[in-house]
C-alpha cells in the first residue's frame, strides 16, 4: 500500500458519500405526502401553499433543486427545518452531542468488555468461566433492548434510585442507556472474539511460539491477540457506526434527544431539509469510521502494507 492507494481510498470514500447523498435526495422526492401541507395543515388556501412552495424552491425543476442542494451543501448550508424553523445544522449539532456521548460510553463497554470476554472465554475454552461468559453473551444478544432498558430502569432507577431513568443532564444519566446499548454489541463482539481467538490459538505459529518457550501472557496478548483482532475489526467499525447513528428505541425509552429520534421525527413529519442533513451526517460518520478501520488494519497487518514474496530463493 502506498500513497497512490491511500489517495484512491480517500477518493472512493468521497464517491460513496456523493452516491448515498444523491440517492437519498431523489428517494425523498418520491416519498408520499406533501411536505408543505404537512407543515401548514390541511385548511390552508391553495394560493398560500403555492407561495410557500415557491419560497422554498419546491416548484423548480427537480434537477435545479438538486444542483441548488449541492451548492448549499458545499457551503455547509443545510437550510432551516420545516417544523421548528431553526437552522438544521444547530439541531443536528445538539442531537449529535447526546448521541456521541451515548455512543462513546456504549462503545467503551462494548469494545473493552467484548474483547476481554472473548479472549478470556477462548483461553478457558470448555471450562465454567467460558460457559458463564458465553451465557451472558447469549443473554445480551437475545434480549430485546427496550425490555432490558425497562428492567434496568425499574431496578436501578425506581427501586434502588442509583441512576436517573430519563434525560441527559443529570449526573449518571448515561449509565443505564450506555449499559443497555453497550451490552448488545459487547455480546456479539465477545462471541466473535472467542471464535477468532480459538482459531488463532490452534494455529501452527502459536504452537511454534509455545515451542520456543514464550510465556502465556506474551503468547496471548502479543502473538495471538493481534491476529485475532484482524477479522473482527470490521465488525467493531460497523458497531461504532451503528451506535453513532443513534438507537431510536433506547433514545425513546430514556428520553434522550439524540440523532436516532431526530431522524425518526423528521421522517414522520416529512421535514426534508432535516432528513437530508441527518443522512449526510450519518453517511459521513460511517464512511469515516470504515476509513479509520481500513487504515488501522493497514497499520496492524504488514501483509496489506508491504507486497509479498520479493525474496525468493
Amino acid at each position: 500500500m502506498n500513497v497512490h492507494n491511500i489517495v484512491a481510498r480517500l477518493l472512493w470514500s468521497l464517491g460513496v458519500i456523493f452516491i448515498v447523498v444523491s440517492t437519498t435526495f431523489f428517494l425523498l422526492q418520491i416519498l408520499p405526502g406533501d411536505p408543505v401541507k404537512l407543515m401548514m395543515g390541511d385548511r390552508v388556501d391553495p394560493v398560500t401553499v403555492e407561495q410557500v412552495r415557491e419560497k422554498m424552491g419546491l416548484n423548480k425543476p427537480i434537477i435545479q433543486q438538486y444542483i441548488d442542494f449541492w451548492l448549499k451543501l458545499l457551503r455547509m448550508d443545510f437550510g432551516d427545518s420545516y417544523q421548528l424553523k431553526l437552522p438544521v445544522i444547530d439541531q443536528i449539532q445538539s442531537a449529535s452531542v447526546v448521541t456521541l456521548r451515548l455512543a462513546f460510553y456504549s462503545s467503551l463497554i462494548a469494545v473493552i468488555g467484548g474483547l476481554l470476554f472473548g479472549v478470556t472465554a477462548a483461553i478457558f475454552r470448555g471450562r465454567w468461566i467460558d460457559n458463564l461468559l458465553m451465557s451472558i453473551a447469549v443473554f445480551g444478544i437475545s434480549t430485546p433492548s427496550f425490555w432490558f432498558a425497562l428492567v434496568l430502569q425499574l431496578i436501578f432507577g425506581l427501586w434502588l434510585q442509583w441512576f436517573p431513568i430519563s434525560g441527559y443532564q443529570a449526573p449518571g444519566a448515561f449509565v443505564l442507556p450506555a449499559f443497555t446499548l453497550g451490552l448488545r454489541y459487547m455480546s456479539s463482539l465477545a462471541r466473535l472474539t472467542r471464535t477468532s481467538m480459538l482459531e488463532v490459538l490452534s494455529s501452527e505459529y502459536l504452537l511454534a511460539a509455545k515451542a520456543k518457550g514464550v510465556g502465556s501472557f506474551r503468547l496471548i496478548w502479543l502473538h495471538a491477540f493481534g491476529n485475532a483482532l484482524l477479522p473482527i475489526m470490521t465488525f467493531i467499525g460497523s458497531s461504532l457506526a451503528d451506535m453513532m447513528a443513534g438507537a431510536i428505541l433506547i433514545e425513546h425509552v430514556f428520553s434522550l434527544p439524540g440523532i436516532g429520534r431526530l431522524t425518526f421525527d423528521s421522517l414522520m413529519s416529512r421535514d426534508l431539509p432535516l432528513l437530508q442533513a441527518t443522512v449526510v451526517y450519518l453517511t459521513v460518520i460511517s464512511v469515516g469510521i470504515y476509513l479509520i478501520v481500513d487504515f488501522l488494519a493497514l497499520f496492524i497487518d504488514p501483509r496489506l502494507r508491504i507486497g509479498g514474496k520479493r525474496n525468493v530463493e
Binding site: S203, A211, G213, V214, D301, I306, N311, E313
Partner: protein, 352 residues
C-alpha cells in the same frame, strides 16, 4: 547407561487423546533413546501417532491429550510430570522443534527479526540489543543475508524454503540438545527439500544435537538418519540402523513401505500400494494391527501383540514371524531383487 551420550529417552510411552468420538490411543508403548550427534528417523503414515510423540517431548500435547503411562527422561530426569512452568524452561532452551508447514509456522504480524530475537531473549536472557546481533548471525548461519532489511521484513515476503530456514534459525537460537523436526520438508518442493536437509545435517555437525526427524518419506530420511524407527498405529514395529532397514528389513510393514518407494519399482508397472488404511485407534482390536492389512499375518497376530525380537544389537522387530515357531516367510521377490541391486550399488553409501 553405557558410554553413549544419551540426551533424552522415552520409555514405554502411552498417550491417549480424549475426543468426542472416544479415546484415541495415539501412542501405545514406544521407547526410543536420543543420542547426541545422532539422528533418528521416525517413519509412519498419517495418524500413526508420530506427531504426538514429537509434541509430547515438548509438553505440547493437544487439548485432551495425556500421557497415561511410561516416562520421558531428559538428562536422566523424568519430565513427563513437569508443570507448565518447568516445561517452559525446557522448551526453546534445551529442546526445540521445526514444524511441518513453514508458511504457517511464523507469526504473520511480526518481523522475522523480532521473532528470532524473541527466541534468543527467552532462551539466553540477554538484552534485545544483543539478541539482534545474534539474530543476524543466525540468519547468516542458515544461509540468508544478515542485513537490517532482512531483519525488519515480514514472513509473507519470503518463499516457503526461506521461511523454513528462518524457522530453523529460530529453533537453533537456543543451541538445543534435542531438535525435533516434524516433517520439515513435506510442504517444500524437491530441490528446496534437499537444501533444507543439507542445512540440517550441516548444523547438526556444528551443534552436535540429537535429532528426531519425523517423516513419511523413507528415502528422504535415509539421506540423514542414523537409525530408522518404523511406526504403525502408535507402535514401533521395526527399529534399526538405516542400513539394516534398507538391506535386511524384517517386518512385513517395512517391506510394504520399501516396496512403495517409487525408484525401487520397475518401469511400466502399476505403482505398488499398501491395501487398506491404518485402523482407527479408538478401541483398537487385539493383536498386531498391521495383520489386518498384511498377507503374511499369522493366527496369533490377531490374538496377541508381538514382543520385540532382537535381530542384531541395533535391530529390533515386533513381528511374530521372528518367533522360532513361526513358519519361514521371505519378503516379496521384487523387493529382494531391488535390495540386491541396492546392495551392489550403494554398499557403504548410507548415512552413518
Amino acid at each position: 547407561m553405557d558410554k553413549k551420550d544419551i540426551i533424552a529417552k522415552i520409555d514405554n510411552l502411552h498417550i491417549d487423546i480424549k475426543t468426542q468420538a472416544g479415546i484415541i490411543q495415539a501412542v501405545r508403548g514406544v521407547s526410543l533413546d536420543f543420542e547426541a550427534h545422532k539422528t533418528i528417523g521416525l517413519i509412519g503414515e498419517s495418524g500413526s501417532g508420530k506427531s504426538m510423540m514429537a509434541r509430547t517431548l515438548l509438553g505440547l500435547l493437544p487439548a485432551g491429550g495425556a500421557i497415561t503411562s511410561g516416562h520421558i527422561y531428559y538428562n536422566n530426569t523424568p519430565i513427563e510430570t513437569y508443570t507448565q512452568r518447568q516445561w517452559r524452561n525446557l522448551r526453546g532452551k534445551e529442546i526445540a522443534m521445526i514444524f511441518q508447514d513453514p508458511m504457517h509456522a511464523l507469526n504473520p504480524l511480526m518481523t522475522i527479526g523480532k521473532q528470532l530475537s524473541e527466541a534468543i531473549v527467552i532462551s539466553q536472557k540477554v538484552s534485545w540489543k544483543l539478541a539482534k546481533i545474534q539474530a543476524l548471525d543466525l540468519l547468516k548461519k542458515v544461509g540468508l543475508e544478515a542485513t537490517p532489511e532482512r531483519y525488519h521484513s515480514y514472513p509473507h515476503q519470503y518463499s516457503g524454503g526461506m521461511r523454513q530456514r528462518i524457522a530453523i534459525a529460530m529453533a537453533l537460537s537456543c543451541k538445543p540438545k534435542l531438535l525435533i523436526c516434524d516433517e520439515p520438508t513435506t510442504a517444500l518442493d524437491v530441490s528446496t527439500q534437499a537444501q533444507i536437509i543439507e542445512l540440517i545435517i550441516k548444523l547438526q555437525k556444528e551443534y552436535g544435537m540429537a535429532i528426531l526427524f519425523i517423516s513419511h518419506d523413507l528415502s528422504l530420511v535415509s539421506q540423514m538418519a542414523d537409525e530408522i524407527a518404523i511406526v504403525y498405529a502408535g507402535r514401533i514395529v521395526e527399529h534399526a540402523t538405516t542400513k539394516e532397514i534398507f538391506l535386511q528389513p524384517k517386518h512385513p510393514y517395512t517391506w510394504a513401505l520399501l516396496s512403495a518407494i517409487v525408484h525401487f519399482q520397475p518401469k511400466n508397472e502399476v505403482l505398488y500400494t499398501i491395501e487398506g488404511s491404518p485402523p482407527l485407534l479408538i478401541n483398537p482390536p487385539k493383536g498386531d494391527l498391521f495383520s489386518y492389512r498384511s498377507e503374511y499375518a499369522l493366527d496369533i497376530d490377531f490374538q496377541e501383540n508381538p514382543p520385540f525380537f532382537e535381530v542384531s544389537p541395533t535391530h529390533r522387530v515386533a513381528s511374530w514371524l521372528q518367533d522360532p515357531r513361526a513358519p519361514s516367510v521371505t519378503m516379496p521377490k521384487l523387493l529382494q531383487k531391488q535390495i540386491q541391486i541396492l546392495r551392489s550399488q550403494q554398499e557403504g553409501n548410507f548415512h552413518e
